[in-house]
Amino acid sequence: MCLAIPGQIIEIATEQPLLARVNVGSVRRNVNIGLLENGEVAPGDWILIHVGFALSKIDEAQAQDQLRMLRAMGEDQLAIEEVRGYSFAEPKGEEDEIRR
């Protein structure tokens, strides 16, 4: 429930400034960055993600730490599954229906 997933920002969406494209492992999804201060993050930065939102900016060492923590808790697959499941604001042309 309180999964916090580390991801790296690839770019800030130009069409919607509160969205960042993020890499989590091999999965690329959009994440909302509205819970961070304006301009707090930029491409290359690492963030902790929870239910589609960036909770906090972290550094790379913390990101690795968090990833290993998820592995230690047996929750790394769950985390990837969650991020893969974010379907809001997919890049154009990649919209996929939420599964029924």
């Binding site: 429930m1 509205g34 819970l35 589609g52 972290i58 690795q64 290993r68």
Partner: protein, 369 residues
């Protein structure tokens, strides 16, 4: 990443465990509550109970969102899915929480339109995709999750979406800790404070626990070493007759919390006068409701919610386990009628629930030894 590996290196762990064993007073009992379900999960998964001295008792706290949600609220929320013109959405954990008529998953199998989402923003998107339906998000969670719901509601307002609402069940951790401290049958010597919740709230909200109740609070990370270090910090405070809030999880938790997230919560939510918690009863000012100015997004104002109160299933002792009065295996239904495949009570549903964690890890260990 050497720094990181240290958190689970068995040698480092046993070194800290030995230090705890050396430090504790054998004539004394230490009752430490880990507030957060994530800590409960980690404690069982890594067998930390077994490396701690006998006289340190770990009591599992109320920090598991699905566990503390009373059955009446589950039933209330599920009435929204009774209608033909609605789609009810919730997180995966919630899909398996039993209501009186079944879990959301079972109701879905019987034809109700209930869908799992990973983010409240997915529920909002579903509303945009289904303009002829009303999409309601059954929101649960502590301060870690509440800001995300808040921003989703603000986004719905900004987009002018009129077929989206939230059935709000967000709760706040501090009033629950106060209720536990005020409860006559609970004697807690110190708290391992929640990790991710504190990344939003910061450490200040716990200061009254040290000041007014004289109990140490150490905000902790989730690695085995984090938890052991936090316990050691609590023991040191107790021995020094000190009570203060310390932050063991500085790498993630800023002392002042996440200001934009707190701002979003303040903008969208107000405190309910009281809210029912499973096992803890009604706690005043312990939960969030959507502010009147955003009532267009409040499922409790849009729908006729019955407001039922339901006692726990016969024989299930979720309340006692939640209060730490009983250990999971002391419940009459544990591992017989109630198991992770067929949970009778919510504590068996979530990996953060004490019963599910005990079932998955401690039982297996008991069988293996």
């Amino acid at each position: 990443m050497k720094y990181v590996d240290e958190f689970r290196d068995p040698r480092v762990i046993s070194r800290v465990a030995r230090e705890i064993a050396r430090t504790v007073d054998p004539a004394r009992r230490y009752r430490v509550m880990e507030v957060c379900g994530g800590h409960t999960h980690s404690i069982y998964r890594h067998g930390l109970r077994d490396v701690l001295p006998e006289n340190i008792e770990l009591i599992h706290g109320p920090g598991c969102p699905v566990c503390v949600l009373p059955t009446g609220r589950v039933d209330d929320g599920l009435t929204i899915a009774d209608r033909d013109d609605t789609i009810l959405t919730c997180f995966g954990d919630m899909m398996r929480v039993p209501g009186t008529k079944g879990t959301p998953l079972e109701l879905k199998a019987r034809g109700a339109d209930i869908r799992m989402v990973y983010s409240p923003l997915d529920a909002l998107k579903l509303a945009q995709q289904n303009p002829r339906k009303h999409v309601c998000f059954f929101s649960i969670g502590f301060e870690t999750t509440a800001p995300s719901t808040a921003l989703t509601i603000l986004r719905a307002q900004a987009l002018g979406v009129t077929n989206f609402s939230v059935f709000c069940n967000h709760v706040t951790i501090v009033p629950a800790m106060r209720a536990i401290l005020d409860s006559p049958d609970m004697r807690i010597d110190g708290f391992v404070g929640p990790g991710h919740v504190s990344s939003i709230t910061g450490c200040r909200p716990y200061e009254f626990i040290a000041r007014d109740y004289g109990k140490p609070v150490v905000v902790s990370g989730f690695e085995p070493l984090d938890i052991l270090e936090s316990i050691l910090m609590i023991v040191h405070q107790l021995h020094a007759n000190e009570a203060k809030v310390e932050n063991q999880y500085k790498r993630i938790v800023p002392w002042e919390g996440n200001v934009p997230a707190l701002r979003a919560m303040l903008q969208v939510f107000e405190l309910r006068p009281y809210f029912e918690w499973r096992g803890l009863g009604f706690i005043s000012q312990s939960a969030l409701a959507i502010r009147a100015e955003l009532s267009a997004f409040d499922a409790e104002r849009i729908f006729d919610i019955p407001g039922v109160r339901v006692t726990d299933p016969r024989g299930a002792q979720c309340g006692e386990v939640l209060k730490g009065v009983l250990k999971p295996p002391q419940c009459k239904l544990f591992a017989t009628e109630c198991n992770p495949e067929h949970p009778v009570g919510a504590l068996m549903v979530s990996s953060e629930g004490a019963c599910a964690a005990y079932y998955r890890y401690a039982m297996r260990a008991a069988v293996e030894t």
